[in-house]
């Protein structure tokens, strides 16, 4: 526009004013567009960006250099007076036809990120990571699936070599075997010949024995690595597995204790308010200022005195032991028969009786190495939640296909068949209800039959073994 100003100024003034008005309407500089249309012979097009909706439909590229002095350019991008490939002035904003993410590229980018992170781990992570040997005592019950799946998924994420020793009370069962087979980890599944008792006390004692059984396996097979105890109801953070690589012989980490109270007891809450120092729900090593082991944090059980759960299905607070096994880490060579190990380690074959706490494995508790910035970082959490003792669940959590025979159910919503519920069957039906709601009438008949404990020949052998275990205490 400016170049042609010399001739017939009035005409151009009017035209300029007109294009100004149009620009006000459209929201971009219309005059430049006209100039471009008149003069350029641009071959490739890319959409021209503008704030208004109207302009978005235009498909024109504008590369008009500003021309304040007159020494610069022609509208052609590759011929300029300054001999530079780069032109000063207004450029089009290049937008590709479909400016959205391309899934193939997103995948490629994620693979690049993975590769970068693997390299980072190799460079800055643990050098020469040792194998991790996880010892887990378990038994078949309703919540086993929940707990064991949690531990399994945590172990599947561990970037180091892993061996999982699962010790099962009551002998090896298909239930547990099928669960841990899904992990794809190297597992050693052994049975322990006692059944799990129904009291928490008995349970803790048996678990200790089962852990020792696990340690004996480490000794027999001469497994090399770092031994940790992962109780199936605990929750582990990934940093735990990085931190335990730092252990030399016998280490301890801080465990967060989540003592669940089923009933919110007001008196307990009041008592908590009256205490001067708030209780930290943490168990683990305590260090002094020079980062040396000075003592142990244990969970204060006094406020819960008398209100704790005794049986597994009690609706009361479940308390941990003084020192939970899951907070301790061993070097597997401590367990071997021969080989050099420090003399403060007791031989596990000699301990067959009850050991109260893991510190009984060593003669001198001061040799324990505190890990996780000297016990300041809580790397795993302890929680004990179990279902009622007589709760039932479908074996392997698979609901069998319905049977052919239809029997009228006694627990239907239809008013003409009044519900007849023998009292001893109530808990069973309550658990089965969620399954009943989603299934057809035939299924309810099946469950009714199950509750009557009729072992049908059409049942598969994996059918009822699970139930029997939980019922026989």
């Amino acid at each position: 526009m400016e170049l042609l100003n010399r001739r017939r100024p009035f005409f151009w003034l009017v035209l300029h004013g007109l294009s100004c008005l149009i620009s006000l309407l459209l929201g971009f500089r219309f005059s430049r567009l006209v100039f471009l249309l008149l003069s350029t012979s641009s071959t490739y097009t890319s959409p021209f960006h503008s704030p208004t909706e109207l302009a978005k439909t235009l498909d024109i590229r504008s590369v008009i250099p500003a021309d304040p002095v007159g020494n610069v350019p022609l509208p052609f991008p590759n011929k300029t007076a300054t001999n530079s490939r780069v032109v000063v002035g207004r450029h089009g904003i290049r937008i590709r036809p479909w400016p959205h993410p391309n899934p193939v590229e997103v995948m490629k980018a994620h693979r690049i990120i993975e590769r970068v992170q693997t390299e980072q781990r190799l460079q800055f992570g643990v050098k020469d990571p040792r194998k991790i040997i996880v010892v887990t005592p378990t038994y078949v019950r309703t919540f086993q699936s929940l707990h064991l799946t949690g531990v399994m998924h945590s172990l599947m994420l561990v970037p180091y070599d892993l061996v999982w020793i699962v010790v099962e009370a009551g002998g090896v069962s298909n239930e547990t075997a099928s669960l841990i087979a899904k992990s794809g980890l190297r597992t050693i599944h052994v049975g322990f010949n006692q059944r799990m008792p129904n009291s928490w006390d008995g349970r803790h004692k048996l678990e200790t024995k089962m852990r020792l059984r696990g340690l004996r396996i480490v000794r027999e097979k001469k497994l090399d690595g770092i031994v940790i105890f992962a109780d199936d109801s605990n929750m582990h953070s990934m940093e735990l597995f990085d931190e335990i690589q730092n252990v030399k012989w016998f280490g301890a980490v801080s465990v967060g204790i989540l003592a669940s109270s089923a009933n919110i007891d007001e008196t307990v809450v009041e008592k908590r308010g009256e205490e001067e120092n708030p209780r930290m729900p943490v168990q683990g090593p305590a260090c002094n200022v020079s980062n040396m082991l000075a003592g142990w944090h244990t969970f204060n059980t006094l406020p819960f005195a008398g209100k704790t759960a005794v049986y597994i299905d009690d609706r009361a607070t479940v308390l941990p032991r003084k020192l939970e096994w899951s907070g301790f880490i061993l070097n597997s060579s401590l367990l071997w028969k021969d080989g050099d190990k420090p003399e403060w380690m007791k031989d596990i074959d000699t301990l067959d009786g009850d050991i109260e706490s893991p510190l009984d494995l060593v003669k001198d508790p001061s040799v324990v190495e505190p890990l996780g910035s000297c016990g300041r970082r809580v790397l795993l959490w302890w929680l004990r939640v179990e279902a009622r003792a007589d709760s039932k669940f479908p074996p392997r959590w698979i609901i069998d296909p319905p049977l052919e025979i239809t029997v009228p159910s006694k627990r239907t919503p239809w008013p003409d068949t009044p519900p007849e519920l023998p009292s001893h069957e109530k808990p069973v039906i309550r658990i089965q209800e969620p399954i009943i709601k989603h299934t057809t009438k035939t299924r309810t008949s099946r469950s009714k039959r199950r509750s009557k404990r009729k072992h049908d020949e059409t049942r598969t052998d994996r059918g009822t073994t699970g139930f029997d275990k939980t019922l026989q205490n």
Binding site: N71, V72, S84, R90, G92, I93, R96, N102, V116
Partner: protein, 417 residues
């Protein structure tokens, strides 16, 4: 025409395989060799003993008084001129005997006239520079001996010695005529541009080393962001339509990738900016009103691969640092395909770039620490000056010979300061 271009590029590639050529020769006399895997051995050269610098003692109105008026000059990205002065005053390369000096330094803080917002105004800078040169040419004979060919000046402003923040005005002014023969140490660098003259040394913009140090996070924090950028895409104050600011490149980045999960880009000012850069694989360094930005320095310090979107840019210490092996260069016209370009880089190449970035001498060369440390940007500038020695005999004039036109340039520049 096209085929010859490709043939030429093919020959360059072959030559590159046979002889490792540097990307940008600035008239050095000695070749440097680089061991693959580490960034330029030249970075570790020690300039002490290789050159001598004489620092002119100018009245404090050129330096101290300006700084006293506005101490903000010590923290903004143009602070290199102040810190270079302080470094030279106490450096072993300084000589008090001008007869044995190879280079002469004139301390004049031309970028310290700040607006209330903190942006430097360049309007008085040409007059300030001219007045300083008049002073040194009348009080010492060394300027007239060579008309400034063995003098160097620090001009870290947007377009260097063109002394303007707007590119068109800067091109129009051109480099200050009195500085035609001197060596300019500047942050601006763009090939075939009026404001970059042959023989200039490009330096990185000033970034505060202590501040960056305090924001370091552990090395093993996994890098989970693919592309990271924080800054303006549209400069609504000066260029509301877009297309002018950054030649439309930043706006193109926004329009093409604003909904792409791989691109963490926004205009926010988060407090975790430095930490986030350390969690990213690529950091975008697009041009703004000028092609250079402190983002390059930040990306190098934090180990994030810089993606440089600025056509024809000349990066700092380009003769010592192999930038094309360290960063990714994307033409402005290829911005819509940025995601394809970045994801098609093979992982080994990415890992190699990260290793080169992790080289401590690389990081050190981008910084201006106080007090100066070996291998830092001050030393790289001195290395660059040392590489230009010895001066060609022809720069020394016989008495009476004159080249510079003292009355050239806009009339406003001729007013005394």
């Amino acid at each position: 025409m096209e085929i010859w271009g490709w043939v030429f590029i093919g020959i360059l590639f072959l030559a590159d395989f046979v002889v490792k050529i540097e990307p940008f020769k600035l008239g050095r006399s000695q070749p440097t060799e680089r061991i693959s895997g580490s960034a330029g051995d030249v970075l570790e050269d020690n300039p002490v003993g290789r050159l001598k610098v004489f620092v002119y003692e100018l009245p404090s109105k050129y330096s101290k008084k300006i700084l006293q008026k506005d101490p903000r000059c010590l923290n903004h990205m143009f602070a290199a001129e102040i810190y270079m002065h302080r470094f030279l005053l106490s450096s072993p390369v300084r000589t008090l005997n001008p007869e044995e000096a190879d280079w002469f330094y004139t301390p004049v803080y031309t970028t310290c006239d700040l607006t209330p917002n903190g942006l430097p105004l360049p309007f008085k800078s040409p007059r300030m520079m001219r007045s300083a040169i008049q002073l040194i040419s009348s009080n010492w004979p060394y300027w007239n001996r060579t008309e400034g060919a063995d003098h160097f000046f620090l001009v870290p402003h947007d377009f260097g010695a063109c002394f303007h923040y707007q590119e068109e005005k800067a091109i129009e002014r051109g480099i200050l005529p009195l500085l035609q023969r001197a060596t300019l140490v500047q942050t601006f660098g763009q090939r075939n541009h009026v404001c970059l003259k042959e023989g200039s040394i490009t330096i990185p913009p000033y970034a505060p080393p202590q501040k960056m140090q305090t924001h370091l996070i552990p090395d093993k924090t996994p890098r989970s962001i693919f592309v990271y950028f924080r800054g303006l895409f549209y400069d609504v104050g000066n260029d509301p339509e877009g297309g002018y600011y950054a030649r439309g490149a930043r706006a193109a980045v926004w329009e093409n990738f604003k909904d792409n999960p791989l691109f963490d880009i926004s205009t926010e000012h988060p407090t975790t900016y430095y930490e986030d850069m350390q969690r990213a694989v690529f950091c975008l360094c697009p041009l703004g009103w000028a092609p250079w930005s402190p983002r390059l320095v930040e990306a190098v310090i934090f180990g994030c691969i810089p993606v440089i979107i600025a056509d024809d840019i000349v990066l700092p210490f380009a003769d010592a640092i192999p930038w094309e092996e360290i960063g990714v260069f994307v033409d402005e016209k290829d911005v819509p395909n940025l995601d394809t370009i970045l994801t098609s880089i093979p992982p080994e190449v990415i890992l190699r770039k990260q290793r080169l970035l992790a080289n401590p001498s690389m990081k050190q060369a981008m910084l201006f620490p106080q007090p100066a440390q070996p291998g830092d940007a001050f030393h790289q500038v001195l290395n660059g000056l040392a590489r230009k020695l010895p001066h060609d005999k022809s720069v020394y004039f016989k008495p009476g010979e004159r080249v510079l036109n003292w009355t050239a340039g806009p009339v406003g520049d001729l007013k005394p300061w």
